[in-house]
Amino acid sequence: MNIIVCVKQVPDIEKPVKIAGKVIDESSDFVLNPLDEHAIQQAVIVKEKLGGKIIVLTLGPERAKQALLRCLARGADEAIHLKTDNDCNFDSTAVSVILAEKIKTLPFDIIFFGGKAVDTNSGDCGVQVAKIFGIPCIPEIIKLEIDNEKVVAVRQVDNGEEMVECSLQAVFTCQKGINELSILPLPKIMQAKRKPLKVEDVCVNNRFSEIIDLEVLPNKRGGLILEGNPEEQVKRLVEIFKKQGILRE
């Protein structure tokens, strides 16, 4: 099985978001996108069963190398860093076009993506890359079984779960729940540094949208704690609901 995993480095959302102008402040903490971590893990699971090779691919600035190293530590065999200086955040089509261009030069049976990135909150790239290649995409899978060219996957849909069968080549995007992440032991993190990591400079010429504004939502919430015994607390809360007029109907 030739497996490609597309990953992205994102700001750590456990920390406060810092913005510089219209982009994320570079002094923020960055991590491998959490769902991409499940994508790489799933690739490792498939490889363990069927053999093959895992190439992990990212598009991003210099710092995105850290995300690749983490994937190599998780079990990817090779990494390719498509290095950009202009971050094409929020322009999913631009990213997909460049990823597809590179993937075209690589042999593959399966491409994994994370279900969506925590920064853009779109989940477009997997679907877009599949469409560019004209191959099936099963987004947001929570189960995957592969046997002799036949794949059965369970995906989350709007009102439930759907089990589908499809042929390869195909793209899958991974949702939380598809696998458990093991803790990365230090030796693996060290070994990762010795695995092949190719850097290729790319220029994102073709843009489909531009950022006009990026604003952090102010925390306007009062955070008021209601005092008193439970009866008094509930009474005050009901007063507030009444004032808001939602109890009318």
Partner: protein, 329 residues
């Protein structure tokens, strides 16, 4: 005149609430900037849903295309994508709008890849500036808004978040045209099984009031007290990932980063600690109430109003006083 193309999703033969909202917004933009609205509906056996066509006709489109085939009974991303992209290719619309359901988002991504255009998902606001679509979306785990502007003059794709845009009823009936559907529709994706999984009665998306429970609920049975509270308002019941992982609730009820992003008037979080991944789903709630026994729980910082206490005591009390209040009226 330039076209705004709208894909309308059906659910059990009925037009979805989100579909009505998207049509409403499309009409508003069309009136403002003199454009035409063309809607596309895929379904099976429209004659069995006669009411549907009458209802559709006045929701804002100038024209409706109906595509009928037994292949459309269940959603198939390849087949739907092929038909929709085929129509878009013929019509060459300036703008393509869909609802931001999982289906809508997936189709939007396909369309943008096929026609190499922008793709704005789950927008809370859109407008047109010159030839270009401008969209506002929630990003960075619900912590920021980004405003984006398209650089493409055609096929500009956006999906609209549910519960934000206003439906419209218009006085003139839309023209309804039946499309020819190719007979040889095949897909490499085959549906084997479907498990419907809504345990709550009211849908979280678009709900005005949501009562959510976390790990602090201790069991699935205990969610009954949240259902009773939600019932008083006709609201919906949600859950944290913690509660879903413990199988207190099904995934469909999950609110947050990997679950649903909701925008109710009131969100009541019971026994939820307030992890950033949970908060990511509720930043658009108008008013957040937290009930938690740990005064140090981060949920209190993210809430408008908090009660430090045992939810098993507070929630039934709250339900009772709200019921009494209703009874008085």
């Amino acid at each position: 005149m330039e076209n705004i193309f709208v894909f309308i999703e059906l659910e059990s033969g009925a037009i979805t609430k989100s579909g009505i909202e998207v049509l409403g917004k499309a009409r508003e933009l069309a009136d403002k900037y003199s454009k035409q609205v063309v809607g596309l509906v895929l379904g099976n056996d429209f004659n069995n849903f006669a009411g549907l066509l009458d209802c559709l006709a006045r929701l804002g489109a100038d024209e409706f295309l109906l595509a009928e085939s037994d292949k459309f009974t269940d959603y198939n991303s390849e087949i739907y994508g092929k038909i929709i992209c085929g129509e878009i290719e013929k019509l060459k619309p300036q703008i393509v709008l869909l609802g931001s359901s999982k289906i809508g988002k997936e189709l939007a991504a396909q369309i943008s890849a096929k026609f190499l255009s922008c793709c704005f998902q789950d927008c809370v606001d859109i407008d047109i500036e010159g030839d270009f679509l401008k969209a506002k979306r929630l990003v960075l785990a619900g912590k920021a808004f980004v405003t984006l502007k398209s650089k493409c003059s055609q096929f500009q794709v956006a999906t609209l978040r549910q519960g934000i845009f206003q439906p419209k009823i218009i006085g003139k009936d839309a023209e309804i045209t039946r499309m020819d559907v190719p007979a040889d529709l095949v897909s490499r994706i085959i549906r084997k099984e479907f498990t419907g999984r809504t345990s709550g009665k009211v849908s979280l998306l678009g709900a005005k009031i949501i009562v959510s429970g976390g790990r602090g609920m201790k069991s699935g049975e205990n969610f009954k007290i949240l259902e009773e509270l939600a019932d008083v308002f006709g609201g919906a019941v949600g859950a944290s990932r913690g509660a879903v992982d413990l199988e207190f609730r099904v995934f469909d009820d999950q609110v947050g980063l990997t679950g649903k992003t909701v925008s109710p008037q009131i969100y009541i979080a019971c026994g939820i600690s307030g992890a950033p991944q949970h908060l990511a789903g509720i930043t658009q709630a108008k008013f957040i109430v937290a009930i938690n026994k740990d005064s140090g729980a981060p949920i209190f910082k993210a809430a408008d109003m908090g009660i430090v206490g045992d939810l098993f005591e507070i929630v039934p009390l709250l339900t009772k006083s709200l019921k009494n209040l209703k009874g008085e009226k």
